[in-house]
């Protein structure tokens, strides 16, 4: 009897959970469905079954030169993240393995730079970009995105590195490992997962950044976030094409995001919730 009730309540909760999940996912689902419709179908009223045409995807790729913003998104998000890692790995390493009295203060201060609202420095950054010819260049935006995410990168790496036990190093030294072997065979394998998680989350953050990319690009260096925002001024009916462009802009990062749920919590709460 008790078991039957549990089973029944389990089914009840399952239905409730799936209902909520599908409700939340619905806007994305409906966009995917609409992207597979023809333009006529797309505005013909509510319909969950598309004709599965890929014509909208083809149209977006050819007419709107989708590949340029796509390439820019890849270059900007990967470039800024890798650049940040180059600067942050040594810093986080030093803070985790040779902490000083001020390490905590430095970390807190780094975090505080993340609190600065972007719009507060819009004027100087815009003018600097305008006057130095960095406007609408990939290099300018890559450096800017690197600076924006650097505090998060240092913090994430620090929380990961701190979990590498120092005793392992001592044990390796006792066994006569050289410094080179120590780094190569002991520390690196233990640090790689943390670095990979950090890379993943920051690529996602940089890919989705939509304030600076809109302010500082026009056509040349515009990534997908700026490209899509330009769709806000309508030029006729283009529901299916708009959906196709949206799907192409979010699909890669959506898939990456699904793999990074755990790191997301840790990275975005600066280790405050694990």
């Amino acid at each position: 009897m008790a078991r039957a009730t549990t089973q029944r309540s389990r089914i009840g909760w399952t239905i409730a959970a799936w209902f909520v999940a599908l409700l939340i996912f619905f806007p994305i689902l409906y966009t995917i469905i609409t992207s597979l419709k023809t333009e006529q179908e797309a505005i013909a009223g509510f319909d969950l079954i598309p004709s599965f045409t890929l014509s909208s995807f083809e149209a977006v790729q050819s007419q709107n030169s989708y590949w340029r913003p796509f390439t820019n998104s890849v270059i900007l998000s990967l470039g800024s993240t890798l650049l940040a890692l180059v600067v942050a790995i040594p810093a986080a390493w030093a803070m985790a393995f040779s902490p000083t009295k001020r390490t905590k203060d430095i970390l807190m201060w780094m975090l505080s730079t993340k609190m600065m609202p972007a719009v507060a420095v819009l004027v100087p950054i815009y003018l600097i970009f305008l006057r130095t010819g960095l406007m609408d260049t990939r290099i300018g935006l890559t450096v800017l995105l690197m600076l924006i995410n650097l505090p998060i990168v240092v913090w994430m790496l620090y929380t990961y590195f701190r979990e590498i036990p120092g005793e392992i190093l001592e044990a390796a030294r006792m066994d006569g490992a050289s410094l080179r072997n120590e780094i190569l065979y002991v520390l690196t394998p233990m640090a790689v997962p943390g670095i990979a998680s950090t890379l993943l989350l920051n690529v996602i953050l940089a890919w989705n950044e939509a304030f600076w990319t809109i302010q500082l690009t026009t056509t040349n260096a515009a990534p997908l976030s700026a490209f899509i925002a330009s769709f806000s001024s309508p030029q006729g009916l283009f529901w299916a094409k708009l959906s196709a462009a949206s799907v192409m802009a979010i699909a890669p990062i959506l898939v990456l995001g699904w793999f990074s749920q755990k790191q997301l919590v840790r990275g975005l709460t600066f280790g405050a919730v694990k």
Partner: protein, 289 residues
């Protein structure tokens, strides 16, 4: 172990990150502060003159400023209320032994990975459009007049979009906190015949308090900067009905070319963000010890 040599090496390893962030923090902020005292418009660039606090006064006496502050508050508080309450409810729901939990989690977390302009466009065109949106289709099905969301309820529409984007974040973090709850404690409470509500208020909620604080503080930082959602949907209108502080400053700088005024607004935004930041730093700082 900590010889002088390793100490100086460590300093060398820390230096680039610290110097970069120091420059990133000081240079633009100092420039913003400087510009905020200038009468400087990009349309007549020759005439940048010192005006003291004129820009601040101008910003302060502009009715749009108070509208923007009010809208910013409503936006932040509205989204926080929806995401925290909704997040707790959904976290409790999917923490149960349900079937297909992995997929449910993936579906719920997905909106967080949708970039803001796409999220705004999806809601604007697919869901809330007065003639082709799903909500309009539903209204017609029930024989009701479809709502023109962005014209009739501009701020509410933006709150809904932003809440949709941040609900996954709140849910995920609250779920993580919930899963670290001691199951023995829960079982003990059950043995003592505690009601579900008693368990929630006396065990679950206190346990999640810290995570809720973190969610509120982190979201507030990001919510103060909501921009793309407004740009894509309402452009801050009708009038100033959906203009927040970020959008007001953007408009001053980029559409009115008023460098001085935008800089003064920027300084005001910094002050506001810092008030929140102080609380966040305390909450995170405790975890470092």
């Amino acid at each position: 172990m900590a010889t002088r040599q390793t100490q100086s090496l460590a300093r060398l390893m820390r230096a680039p990150a610290i110097l970069l962030l120091l420059a990133w923090m000081i240079v633009p902020l100092a420039m913003t502060l400087y510009y905020s005292f200038l009468d400087y418009n990009l349309l007549n660039p020759g005439s940048a003159a010192w005006t003291g606090f004129f820009n601040y006064r101008f910003f302060y006496t502009d009715p749009a400023f108070f509208a923007a502050i009010g809208n910013t508050l409503i936006l932040v508080l509205g989204v926080l209320a929806i995401t925290v309450i909704g997040g707790i409810a959904i976290a409790l729901l999917i923490d149960r032994p349900i079937m297909g939990q992995g997929i449910v989690r993936i579906l719920i977390i997905s909106p967080f990975f949708v970039m803001p302009p796409v999220a705004a466009l999806i809601w604007k065109n697919m869901i809330m459009h007065p003639s082709y949106g799903v909500l309009a289709d539903m209204a017609r099905f029930f024989g009701v007049q479809p709502v023109d969301w962005f014209a009739q309820y501009p701020l509410l529409s933006i709150i809904i979009i932003v809440a949709w984007q941040w609900l996954p974040f709140a849910t995920l973090i609250l779920l993580t906190a919930l899963q670290s709850l001691d199951s023995e404690q829960m079982e003990a409470a059950e043995m003592d015949g505690a009601s579900a509500w008693a368990k929630f208020t006396h065990l679950i909620l206190p346990h999640m308090a810290r995570a809720i604080t973190v969610v509120i503080l982190i979201q507030t930082i990001f919510l103060l900067g909501v921009y793309a959602e407004i740009l894509v949907t309402t452009n801050g209108g009708p009038g100033n009905a959906s203009t927040n502080l970020t959008y007001l400053i953007y408009r001053a700088a980029r559409l009115n070319f008023d460098i001085g005024g935008a800089a003064a607004g920027g300084i005001i935004a910094v002050v506001l963000a810092n008030i929140v930041a102080i609380f966040l730093m305390r909450a995170v700082g405790k975890n470092l010890d």
